[in-house]
Amino acid sequence: MEGNMLANFDSIREQNMIALKEVKEKGAKVVGFYCTYGPQELAVAAGAICVGLCGTKEDPIPAAEQDLPRNLCPLIKSSYGFAVSDTCPFFHFSDLVIGETTCDGKKKMFELMAKIKPTYVMQLPQTQEGEASLALMYAEMKKVKEEMEKHLGVTITDEAIGEAIALLNEERRTLKEFFDLNQAKPAVITGMDLLKVSWQLGFHANRKERTVLLRRLIDDLKAKAAEGYHVGDESTPRILLTGTPTGLGSEKVIRLVEECGGLVVSIENCTGYKTLNQYIDENDPRDKLLLLAERYLKIPCSVMTPNTGRLELLERMIKEFQVDGVIDLTWQACHTYNIESTTVGQLVKDKLGLPFLHLETDYSQSDVETLRVRINAFLEMIQE
């Protein structure tokens, strides 16, 4: 994308560090989230600022490895490393951290993190099916609400939850609209820009301003596209990235695809498209916490078994985004995504007849050249 269009997004994280410090000094409350399972609506309803804390940079990993094993997912190590070395201002300013029992690595890491910061770890069911799972999710929504009320010293009303639901629905719809611009062929947004925009927005303390900024970008892009603007061309290989989360600092696979002449047209992971079409009916009169429980239980994450929703989403995205090949990224030692890759590969190769590449790596740069060969060869498979 042309530089000036993204100028507003380049420094959201930096600007909000300063803004956060100022509002904290005036008494604002901050809740830190690591995962898309965290019900941000409740923090918004509590009048708190939500910040995304999921670790995407390599820098704090050595600090984390003083307490955590080396052979562990880099995302968990990075998240914990930022916390334990006090090098993440967003963690620093958080009054409460919401964790989840997504995978084994995370749930045990949160035990250690709870020694540094008030942490509530949501108990997630292992499956999306059955009444027991929904009952647990509902009970956890109640617990999260109570914990927030206790730690933030507020009362969360149903009315406020309803308003937060509407606000986040709108936010997700807008972000989906942004991603969906790339259904056009040729595409209009590079994968690196998709990542930058979605990752930076997560740090914006003002929820309404987030959507305003993004709306302006969508309008600009639509106007440019109408004048013939695009990235890549008709023959550029269109890659769908799926798998573990990505952010700035852990973007190497996206960068390599685009350096090698491909284009990541969409990103099916929890920092990308995975949860963007999951809305809550604002007119549903039932208990708001139940509505939240239902919505969050539907997230098609590999920690759920079975996880057929991810396959359905992938199949739909492959068609809608006119995808030529799928790259499945697994962070080292992430068992659930690593194993699920076999099923995803079967869908892509056997059912849909498209090239599929599974990559397992970490946040380091040590394997960049061997990754480059694989990605280059994968793009050659598509082009030749």
């Binding site: 090239p355 040590s366 394997d367 060969v373 694989r374 060869a377 498979m381």
Partner: protein, 259 residues
Amino acid sequence: MTVALAVGIDVGSTATKIVFKKDQGDIHCHIRPTGWSPREAAQAGIRALLEETGYSESQIKATVATGYGRIALSFADRTVTEITCHGRGAAFLVPGADLVIDIGGQDSKVLKINNQGKVLDFLMNDKCAAGTGRFLQVMAAALGLDVSELADLSAGQEPVKISSMCTVFSETEVIGLLAQGVAKGAIVAGLHQSIARRMAAMVGRLGKPETKAVFTGGVALNLGVQRSLEQLLGIPVVTHQYSQAAGAIGAALIAQKMI
């Protein structure tokens, strides 16, 4: 009419392979150590092959570079990955094969290919050089042998089990086995089998091959590894006199299409 030459260059970690391909007829092949400079190895190889064949530099109409040193060859018209090139080259050498097993100096890969040598799927070894040519070189040195002696020494021997695939740990293990008085032939047969097992596991992940496999890369010169692979895979594993140059041949074939 003068002959137009397509040149393929595969700069591997250990050897540089140069291939001339004419519109019709045979290929010409030259192999030399890569040494410290990929660019110099490639240029010296081209000069040597021009001298050997009597062609002149002006007859070179297209050059494609592949292999880990491909980026260093700025004079090439195009660079293509060794994965795509091995597929093309292997299908040229052994028509009808649906699998390529390539073991080079520092990496190994398996490719599923179609009749034209187009790569349908592939897997490459991970971050280390376990089970590659370098692994065999280190083991041969530990046994006081040259790699070229390994195949003959292992023929007909009952393989001893080698448990580690890490070059460093295997070396320790081999020295330990020698100290226990285990015959060198049995140790070498064991090393071949452990390499073959590793490759067979990679093949298994790609799905079962149906017809035959082409064995390429420097380790394809070792008949002991080839025999072990055939036993484990249950299909013919074919080598060719130009197996080591399959990547360069593929590069030359791609170059030929550019003329």
